[in-house]
Amino acid sequence: MKRLATLLMTVVLLSLTVSCQKDPDFDELSSEFITYTNYDKSVDFSKYSTFYISDAIKVLSDKKEDWSDDNAQSIIKTFADNMKDRGYVQLDESEKSMADIGIQLSYVENSYYFTDYYSPYYWYDWWWGSIFWNGWFPIYPYPSYSVTYRYDVGSLLGELILIDRATEKLQQAWSMCVGGTMSGSTRTDVANAKRGVNQAFVQSPYIKK
């Protein structure tokens, strides 16, 4: 009986000390956002010359709204500067219809974005209008493996859309997702997002005129 009690006590004590699966120390991870990019291999980016980028970031939520304050402008400028560094010419609002490439920046803050958000079609309708819908199939900017969120996160999505005016079709050529846990400080999060945008171009050397 004493032997059984000792055995049980040992099992209980050791089990309490060494739980079944030990979670890693997440504090070791940096707070830097992840940067994911994907592109259509068939696209020759050097064939295009001009781009248009909106002066507002679309916020994907139940309500349709724009994010256009100074923080948004600094992110948009970072993106546009990278495009210009690669040899593309930025067109303004009045020349929008002449652009070869349309750039869509969007922001979403949702715990279940990757698993719940399947159809970004409305967002294109809302921004570009429905005239370019025919024949356009998006490459989702999501990793092809299973991804789960542990916390509420923010994601900045960016896409290069090739505009074929002759056929009135859009082709998604490149996509970007910069995201991670929000720090609670807007200044830090915006700085993180801008570094993510820069990294997206670093890992996409094929984008160049």
């Binding site: 004493k2 032997r3 000792t6 055995l7 040992t10 099992v11 050791l14 089990s15 000390t17 060494v18 079944c20 699966q21 030990k22 979670d23 890693p24 120390d25 997440f26 070791e28 991870l29 940096s30 707070s31 830097e32 956002f33 992840i34 940067t35 994911y36 990019t37 994907n38 592109y39 259509d40 291999k41 990793p143 092809s144 493996y145 299973s146 991804v147 789960t148 969120y149 542990r150 916390y151 996160v153 995201g179 991670g180 846990t181 990294q199 670093v202 890992q203 996409s204």
Partner: protein, 209 residues
């Protein structure tokens, strides 16, 4: 020289004492055995979380069908975590991901075991053992707020050498020490990491009942 002779004599005396048969209360009267151990495990060249860790336990129970040969069952588990610096990974030919990561391997093998003990009547009972079974493993990569995991099952084999040391004449509870090597056929694919088979080595330290 005098000190050296003293040490040798002490060692011989120690061996005589611990190996001297204690027939009054040897385990022969109780052919069962149960080991409860803390496990220190180190994956070997898996390319994924190859960092030694003490987050593990081992349970084994069996019965001596002869004075020397025991048959039983076992279950162990261990977790190994390792930090990976920020890097850009080519997930596919066209997609890239930049992030730092925390890698984690959780292993849970269980099955049957056989052992041969050399000195069944001694206080110190060295043995060799072979464990065969199946292993459940989960390889995870955590990056910022995301994680990618792959769970698998495989065949498990584990040769082991160890000893049980009893400090009392009743031999009801003893110290158990073992060194082991194990191999599991589990194959996992997480992000860019392709793990084919998991080799481990380590030791187990606990109590034997």
């Amino acid at each position: 020289m005098k000190t050296l002779n003293k040490s040798i004599v002490s060692a011989i005396l120690f061996l005589v004492v611990i190996l001297f048969p204690n027939k009054a209360n040897s385990q022969v009267t109780d052919n069962g055995y149960i080991n409860v151990d803390w496990q220190f495990n180190m994956p070997i060249k898996t390319g994924f979380a190859d960092k030694a860790s003490g987050w593990g336990m081992s349970f084994e129970g069996g019965y001596y069908i002869t004075k020397n040969i025991g048959l039983g069952m076992f279950m162990t588990y261990s977790t190994n975590n390792d930090y990976v610096e920020r890097q850009t990974m080519m997930l596919t030919e066209t997609s890239a991901l930049t992030t730092d990561q925390m890698h984690s391997i959780f292993q849970l093998p269980f099955g049957v075991s056989a052992r041969y003990r050399f000195l069944p009547d001694a206080i110190v009972k060295p043995y060799v053992a072979l464990k065969l079974g199946t292993e459940y493993s989960k390889l995870s990569s955590y990056y910022n707020s995301f994680s990618s995991s792959d769970k698998n099952w495989g065949f498990y084999i584990c040769p082991e050498v160890g000893t049980t040391i009893y400090f009392t004449s009743s031999q009801k509870v003893g110290l158990h020490i073992a060194l082991y090597y194990s191999y599991a056929t589990n194959k996992s694919d997480v992000l860019i990491y392709d793990v084919k088979g998991i080799n481990n080595s380590g030791f187990r330290l606990g109590l034997s009942f």
